[in-house]
Symmetry: C2
Subunit: 202 residues, 2 copies
DNA sequence: ACCTGAACACCGTTCAAGT
DNA sequence: ACCTGAACACCGTTCAAGT
């Protein structure tokens, strides 16, 4: 306990590896890191990781799922259910989604990477759905109140909106929609176009 | 000429490597292949590739740009400028875009991969824009004729639509929107939701 | 001018051996 | 039960040497 020599057993290496990978992502140099690099950062031999994950993809999937949970919190913070006005609420949810991506580019990319999906697409899918639950609620409410077009079922419309948010986020991160400088403008413009499309004609 | 022994010099190795990589993509086992595998397929030593490309990313970028040209042709075939009715034309363009992705999943993924972008984002960007030129034309026409909402400039609306198409395509390829079975349904539903959002209220 | 083969520093994964 | 170190088969990249 009081000893300063590193113990042979780590304690919670599994968690430590996930945290190390998250830190690597936050440091900003891409999103594809070696398993060995996460182990290095955790101060442990690389082969130790295989006692906690069957393969690298398992670690990445865990990080990805954590990412979706962060996304859910991020959205709930910036667009609480108490937000007055469906208009504002939907806009806040959509804005929060895209901003999460631009604020955590590497994590967002990892969340949708092949390695992360390969491992447990169903878990990822349900994490994604949980993150978007607020959106689906708002849509159902909006349709009931007559504010939204009601041509489609709420879940179908939620999927369509998710597509748009994801596409916008990815294209922005890829630098294909705009330069870094006018990125904020591009986001708000695209979100406006999108929200206008949702509303019933005035 | 009449000899059947493989010549020491290949002739057009650069092109051959690109074609080999395209074939690997079409074979369906993912989209991340070793440079060495393309060289193997081209029947050449792996180090030979470095006389034609500065690094692997250079090869991938070339493949990606070819992909965008294929996409442009694909759209022009299925949604020629002669298509009667803006309604049909826009729907055809959007449908063609998404179907190109589902028909060439690995190529589509490569086109937006970090490796391909890293090399020449500007060339890629202009290829992407060329592929979407038909869309932008149709939007401008649609706004003039009063069929489309005119709240935004054509290029801004084109970007918003591209976001949606890209997001839909990627999420479908990722298997996050639907299972393989009801994939067609999901696509046409999402496209409908999208097109309804574009139109002026009836 | 173009291609080969050996070499280097990396990787993911495995496995016997240590604590 | 958990961790290490050496080993294996791979990879991208380089470079002297061949044609």
């Amino acid at each position: 306990m009081g000893s300063c020599t590193k113990p042979y057993h780590h304690g919670d290496l599994r968690r430590s590896l996930v945290v190390s990978y998250l830190e690597l992502l936050r440091e900003g140099k891409g999103w594809q890191f070696a398993l060995r690099e996460a182990a290095r950062k955790a101060g442990v031999s690389h082969s130790a990781a295989y006692k906690h994950f069957p393969h690298k993809a398992g670690l990445l999937a865990e990080v990805a799922i954590l990412g979706f949970e962060h996304l859910r919190c991020f959205i709930e913070e910036r667009a609480p259910a108490s937000t007055v006005g469906l208009d504002e609420r939907v806009a806040a949810i959509c804005g929060a989604y895209v901003r999460f991506g631009t604020a955590n580019p590497n994590l967002y990319r990892l969340m949708f990477s092949a390695d992360a999906r390969e491992c447990s697409n169903t878990r990822l899918r349900s994490s994604g759905m949980a993150a978007l639950a607020a959106l689906q609620c708002a849509i159902a409410e909006g349709q009931n109140s007559g504010w939204l077009r009601t041509c489609r079922k709420p879940d179908e419309q939620a999927q369509a909106i998710w597509s748009q948010l994801h596409g916008l986020t990815i294209l922005i991160l890829d630098g294909l929609l705009c330069s870094e400088a006018d990125c904020e403008d591009a986001i708000s413009t695209a979100l406006h176009v999108m929200l206008e499309g949702l509303k019933r004609a005035a």
